[in-house]
C-alpha cells in the first residue's frame, strides 16, 4: 500500500507534511510572483506593440512569438551567467535564491503574455479604432481601455503563463539549485526523488502539482465564464 503513488500523494496532503507544505508554498510564491511581474511588464508591452507603428516592429513581433518557445534551460543559463559571482549582476548575490528563480520564470513567461496580448489587443483595436479616434483619444489613452476590455482573454493568457511557470523545471533548477528548504520547488523535488529512485514519492508530488494547477485553472475558468456571460 505504501508503494502506491496515489496513497503517497494523499498521505502527503492529509498529514500536511511540513516539508511538502514548504515546497508547495514556495512553488506557488515563485510562479505567482513571476507571472504577476511578467503581466505588469508584458501586457503593456503587448498593447504598445499593437498600438504603435515603429521601425523594426515586425522584428519585435517575430522575436516575441519565437521566445514563447524559449527552452527553459537556455533562460536558466542566461540568468545563471548574469547572476553568477563573476557575472554583471553577481554582486546582488541572488544566485540560488527564490529571487533568481522568479527572474528566470519572468523571462520565460513574459514573451507568452506579450505576444498573445499583442494579438488580442490588435484584434480589439481593429474594432474600436474609429470610435477611439472619434472620441479624440491618444494612443496612450487607448492602452488602458483596450487592456481592460480584453480582460477575459488576458486572464486566459495569464493562465497559459502560469502553466509555463509552474511546470518548468530546467531554469529553476539551474538558478535555484534545488536547495532543501530554500529553493526546492515541486518540479525540482520530483526530479530529485525520481533520480533517487523514490518513484511513489515523485509521483505523489506530481499528483499534488497537477491538482494545484487544475484547481487554479478551474477557478479562473469559472470566474471568467460567469463574467463573460454577464458581459455578453
Amino acid at each position: 500500500m505504501e508503494e502506491n503513488a496515489f496513497y503517497v500523494a494523499l498521505s502527503l496532503l492529509v498529514n500536511l507534511d511540513a516539508s511538502l507544505y514548504q515546497i508547495v508554498v514556495l512553488s506557488l510564491q515563485v510562479s505567482l510572483v513571476a507571472v504577476l511581474i511578467a503581466a505588469l511588464l508584458g501586457f503593456p508591452l503587448g498593447a504598445a506593440v499593437a498600438l504603435w507603428q515603429f521601425p523594426g516592429r515586425g522584428g519585435v513581433i517575430v522575436a516575441l512569438n519565437a521566445l514563447m518557445g524559449l527552452p527553459p534551460v537556455v533562460a536558466g543559463l542566461g540568468v545563471y551567467l548574469l547572476l553568477s559571482r563573476a557575472g554583471p549582476l553577481g554582486e546582488l548575490g541572488l544566485l540560488f535564491t527564490p529571487g533568481a528563480m522568479v527572474i528566470a520564470q519572468v523571462i520565460l513567461v513574459l514573451p507568452i503574455l506579450a505576444a498573445l496580448s499583442r494579438q488580442k489587443v490588435e484584434e480589439l483595436l481593429g474594432e474600436y479604432r474609429e470610435q477611439f479616434v472619434s472620441l479624440g483619444m491618444s494612443k496612450a489613452r487607448m492602452m488602458p481601455t483596450l487592456l481592460w476590455d480584453a480582460r477575459f482573454a488576458l486572464l486566459t493568457i495569464l493562465l497559459a503563463g502560469f502553466g509555463r511557470a509552474s511546470a518548468e523545471v530546467g531554469a529553476v533548477m539551474m538558478v535555484g539549485g534545488n536547495i532543501d528548504g530554500v529553493t526546492r520547488v515541486m518540479t525540482t523535488a520530483i526530479v530529485l526523488e525520481t533520480s533517487k529512485g523514490a518513484l511513489p514519492l515523485a509521483l505523489g508530488l506530481g499528483i499534488v502539482l497537477l491538482t494545484l494547477v487544475m484547481a487554479i485553472n478551474a477557478t479562473a475558468y469559472i470566474l471568467s465564464e460567469t463574467a463573460k456571460r454577464r458581459m455578453g
Partner: protein, 247 residues
Amino acid sequence: MTSLNVPVNRPIELSAPPSLRFDNVEFNLLGHQLFGPCSFTLDGPGPTLVMGPNGAGKSLMLRLAHGLLAATEGAITWSGDQTPRQAMVFQTPVLLRRSALANLTHALAVNNVPRKRRAELAREALARFGLSSCADTPARVLSGGEKQRLALARAWALSPSVLFLDEPTSALDPAAIKDVEAAVQEFHERGTRIVMTTHDLHQARRLAGDVLFLAGGKVQEHTPADIFFSAPASRQAQAFLSGELVA
C-alpha cells in the same frame, strides 16, 4: 486627430452651428481617386443628409470631415477659431465591453470631465434616450436599437457642436428607426450641426434641411431638401430618386 479634443464643459452654443467647408478636397488610396475633388460649404441650418448610391463616397466624406481620414489634397475648414467639438455615430455602434453607464463615463473620462460629474452626466444622457433601466446592463447584450440609442446617448453626453451619423438606422426595425430619428431631431434642436448619410429616401424626406448628393466620389448637387426632392438638378439625382441605377 487630437484637435477633436475640445473641453466638454464648454457651454453649448445655441447660436448657429459651426459651418464646414471642403475646398478642392481629394482622397486617394494606392493611386485611386476615391473622393473628390470636391468643394462645398455646409452652413445652412440643416440637418444635412448625404445621399447617393453605394460607393458614392458618402462614408468617406463623413470620415474626412470628422478627421478620421486625412485628405490627400485640399483643405477642410470649420468656421470659428477652433475645431468644434464633434461626435460620430456609426452604422454598427462601437461599444465597449462594459455596462451601458460605463460606456458613457468612459467617453466623459477621456474628454477630461471631472470624475465627480461623470456619473451624473451619463445618467442624464441615458434617461434622455430611454435607457435608464439598462444603465448596468452590459452594452453588448443590448438590442440593436438600444445599442444605437446608447451610441447616441454617448454622443449627447459629450455635447458636440457637430454630429456625424453614418447610416445609423440601416440595421434597425421601424420602431428603433423612429427613436433614432427623434434623437437626431433633438440634437438638431439643441443647435448641433447634423451631417448624416442614409439610403432611405423616406428618412431623408423626414429629416433633411438640405441634401448633399454624391455619385462617383463627387458632389453632384447640394440643394435645400424641398428642391432636391421636387426638382433635382443633376441627372444622377433624378435617376436616383426615380429608382434607377446610378453609376
